[in-house]
């Protein structure tokens, strides 16, 4: 799958779309592929303040429970409630319908990579 050029990526295989001071988070296609079938997503509560790098959500595959780390600090303003009923959207559309949360950014971010940099990172 091509890695979208309009997103930024972390070394933990999360993606972030930054639009003004609003950031949308998800996990990369590489991450969902490695995890296998996602059967449960635990979403953060709206209003929660998270730090960059903090575990803000949990995805569970058939066999494993994995924390999802925030690419940027901020306050959670929206979560993808559709994942409660259809967690498989993280597998089928990791960069689109599989988004996890939106935050109002407060400044700090993890080290973020462009699509090209992330592609190189994956190949290393």
């Amino acid at each position: 799958m091509t890695i979208p050029a309009d997103l930024k990526y972390t070394k933990d295989h999360e993606w972030v779309r930054i639009d003004g001071d609003i950031a949308t988070f998800g996990i990369s296609d590489h991450a969902q592929e490695a995890l296998g079938d996602i059967v449960f997503v635990e979403l953060p509560e709206i209003g929660r303040t998270i730090d960059a790098g903090e575990a803000y959500a949990v995805v569970e595959s058939v066999k494993a429970v994995s924390d999802v780390y925030a690419p940027a600090a901020g306050e959670v303003i929206e979560v993808n409630e559709e994942l409660e009923g259809e967690p498989e959207k993280v597998n089928s559309d990791a960069y689109g319908a599989g988004w996890i949360a939106k935050v109002k950014m407060s400044g700090a971010t993890l080290e973020l990579m462009s699509d090209d940099e992330y592609n190189t990172f994956l190949e290393e």
Partner: protein
């Protein structure tokens, strides 16, 4: 990973997109390219799933005292087996706890065949050899020469029938036949670990890849360890290292139905009798979450808000939701108000009955 064994099917797994993981000393496929959920669904919804379970061990027991030997070292009543019949059984320590759970096949009055767990193989074989010294019996570990395939699901019989010269319809549940598969001697039993109709097929390594490919050509699809664990957990089948171990007796594990106290002496009998009269230290129960969440192994279980035990196997069941087996204090086994701690939060649960989903085995 260098010291891990490979089954004769290894290259086929890799070619089919198998994600190989260490398991009981082997490199085994946890899933193939379509993923565990699709594999699970294929088996539950009428397909023929093929599982490489060659990691499991096989021991042939022969000799004039094979019967008294097996009566002494296993828990079930071997005298009740007829030729061509299999039963579920166990090896216990003197303390009444499990060395392993096994299946015993009766080939003849003087020859039996045991299927044992991979992780316990060396321990089992050492134990059997030690006890065999007091009997006219030969114990032969044939694990390295034997490939074991399980073919499970409603379409299993049709997929296998094309490879064998015997009418599989004649093999009943927990019965087996010695027959030719792809021209080689094989044991085929109508047994399994999924709750579906199907077979377990013991063949020489030399024909393993040939049989594997023929079964795939007949419509079977490969199933990995992850789906296998889903299928067995939905049935509530015990797995060594989870529901049974050297820390529990058949009294706790709800396996008194394979522990025949009236058959004469056997290793662990006195301890099991004592435990039965004093009562189990914990009890195995089946629970189902009543809210969203996935109960997993080692998660704590609470009754009335007080910790009472922990989960031994838990899963997300596409058919039944969040379900688990758990050991709890005996006095809480009938408790109404149960919960499971998931990431620090109490998620409510209720007792339920096994199997978690309907079994389709052919009785």
């Amino acid at each position: 990973m260098n010291d891990l064994s490979k089954t004769p099917i290894f290259d086929e797994h890799v070619n089919l997109g198998g994600k190989m993981v260490p398991f009981a000393g082997f490199e085994m496929p946890v899933q193939y390219k379509n993923g565990a959920l699709k594999e699970y669904t294929f088996v539950r919804e009428g397909g023929a799933g093929i599982f490489d379970i060659t990691h499991m061990g096989q021991v042939r027991v022969s000799g004039s005292e094979a019967l008294p030997f097996l009566q002494y070292v296993t828990t079930n009543d071997v005298s009740k087996l007829v030729e061509g019949q299999v039963h579920y059984s166990a090896l216990l320590n003197e303390s009444g706890t499990f060395i392993d759970d096994i299946t015993t096949y009766k080939i003849s009055d003087s020859e039996y065949y045991l299927c044992i767990n991979a992780a316990n193989r060396l321990k089992d074989v050492a134990h059997l050899n030690g006890e065999a010294k007091a009997f006219e019996v030969n114990v032969s570990d044939e694990s390295d020469d034997t490939t074991l395939l399980a073919l499970q699901g409603a379409a299993a019989q049709a997929a296998l029938q094309l490879l064998v010269d015997t009418d599989l319809e004649k093999i009943g549940y927990y019965k087996f036949a010695q027959l030719k598969v792809a021209g080689a001697n094989a044991i085929v039993s109508r047994t399994g670990y999924t709750g579906e109709d199907g077979f377990e097929i013991y063949i020489p390594n030399a024909i393993a890849v040939d049989v594997w490919k023929q079964l795939l050509a007949n419509g079977a699809e490969p199933i990995g360890l992850a789906a296998r664990d889903m299928l067995r957990t939905e049935m509530g089948y015990a797995l060594y290292g989870h529901e049974i171990s050297d820390q529990v007796t058949p009294v706790e594990a709800k396996l008194m139905w394979i522990t025949k106290l009236d058959k004469g002496d056997f290793i662990g009998k006195a301890a099991v009798e004592a435990r039965r009269s004093e009562g189990p230290k914990q009890r195995l129960i089946a629970i189902k979450l009543t809210c969203r969440g996935i109960p997993r192994e080692h998660y704590k279980v609470f009754a009335g808000g007080i910790e009472t035990g922990e989960i031994t196997s838990g899963m997300f069941s596409p058919m039944a939701g969040g379900v688990a087996l758990a050991y709890v204090k005996p006095e809480d086994a009938e408790a109404g108000e149960l919960s499971v701690e998931i990431r620090g939060k109490a998620v409510s649960a209720e007792r339920t009955t096994l199997p978690f989903v309907r079994s389709n085995v052919r009785r």
